[in-house]
């Protein structure tokens, strides 16, 4: 009975969704409202106005930097909440043995390739304005490096390599940096976070700083969340 009820319920919702889908304009049509209202402006003027060839980065760092700032605050809040609920992991003395010792093949590969991964993460983050990529993507690669390290060499090892004392600075970096930039533009005489007031080279520098800051913060925050969750498993 319950199964039947849930099935009917889902079918109802599905029908509603299908009706919506039928009302949608054909995908990819240049005449769609999503392609005619704001997009031409972004595409024709975006690169000139923001000095960013990558329009996604341009939108994230300039046109919609409020959103990005809000998002950084959001993940900062998530981390703060997680710390309030479960607390930091603690470093242990000595190394506890791994449950499964990975094969030497995996270990040697990772030991050799980790520096290259980190370089790749830096590259993706730094060149966010000029090629595909950006701060978030670089940050996620960084986080995945740390997580892979923890999975292969053990959690204790990862805690020792990237201890909380080293991570804590980066976790709030981007929020701080956004606030600082916003206040600076206030002092120069514009609105909050209006980077157009600065000259082109200074702006480029700020944008680069934003990319690096966003990358480090999102990456380290994801790693920290992983550490907090992993800590539960150890205890």
């Amino acid at each position: 009975m319950r199964k039947l009820g849930s099935f009917l319920f889902l079918t109802l919702i599905g029908l509603f969704l299908l009706l919506t889908v039928l009302e949608m304009p054909i995908m990819g049509d240049p005449a769609n409202p999503s392609n005619t209202v704001t997009t031409p402006r972004y595409i024709s003027e975006g690169a000139r106005e923001t000095n960013c060839k990558n329009l996604v980065s341009a939108i994230m760092l300039n046109y919609r930097s409020y959103d990005t700032m809000g998002e950084m605050v959001a993940i900062f809040t998530v981390l703060a909440a997680a710390l309030a609920i479960l607390g930091r992991e603690k470093a242990k003395r000595g190394l506890s043995p791994l449950k499964v010792e990975p094969s030497p093949l995996i270990k040697i590969t990772m030991v050799i390739y980790i520096p290259f991964f980190i370089v790749f993460a830096c590259y993706v983050a730094i060149n966010g304005c000029y090629s595909v990529g950006g701060g978030f993507q670089g940050g996620v690669i960084l986080a995945s490096v740390i997580i892979i390290f923890a999975l292969i060499f053990g959690f204790d090892e990862a805690v020792k390599k990237f201890p909380a004392s080293k991570r804590v600075f980066f976790e709030g970096l981007a929020v701080l940096y956004f606030m600082l930039l916003g206040l600076m533009s206030l002092f120069v005489g514009g609105n909050f976070l209006n980077l157009n007031l600065f000259g082109s080279p200074v702006r480029k520098l700020f944008t680069l700083g934003l990319e690096i800051g966003i990358g480090l913060t999102s990456g380290i925050t994801i790693a920290s969340l992983f550490y907090i969750l992993k800590k539960v498993e150890r205890e």
């Binding site: 039928l22 995908m27 990819g28 998530v78 909440a81 595909v132």
Partner: protein
């Protein structure tokens, strides 16, 4: 007419199906972890939907190259990128709350 529209909008249909799967897990599954997975699937379906809206036939990736005029809409991509990271955050928070809840229940049972 209707059939052609559905076939040209297959991505929306896929996103709809994903949404339904996610919704089923969230609403009708008792397991907390499965609910969280369901939230993630729903998120993914919305991302797919947004990216689909921003598509443009024959458009290049929104990276300005000389000589190319036709680009896809960069706005949904930027929004989805932000939503992805927020999604990671919410998932982590949800998991942590679930862990806490689990611990509390264990304590009460003792």
């Amino acid at each position: 007419m209707m059939i052609t529209r559905v076939f040209s909008n297959l991505i929306y249909v896929a996103s709809m199906i994903l949404f339904l799967i996610g919704f089923y897990a969230v609403a009708l599954r008792p397991n907390l972890i499965k609910k969280i997975i369901g939230i993630n699937i729903m998120e993914t379906s919305i991302f797919l939907f947004l990216i689909g809206i921003g598509n443009r036939k024959g458009g290049a990736a929104p990276l300005i190259v000389d000589g190319v005029k036709n680009y896809v809409n960069p706005l949904p991509q930027a929004v989805v990128l932000m939503a992805l990271v927020v999604g990671v955050g919410t998932t982590a928070l949800a998991l942590i709350l679930a862990v806490k809840l689990f611990e509390r229940e264990e304590e009460e049972q003792l």
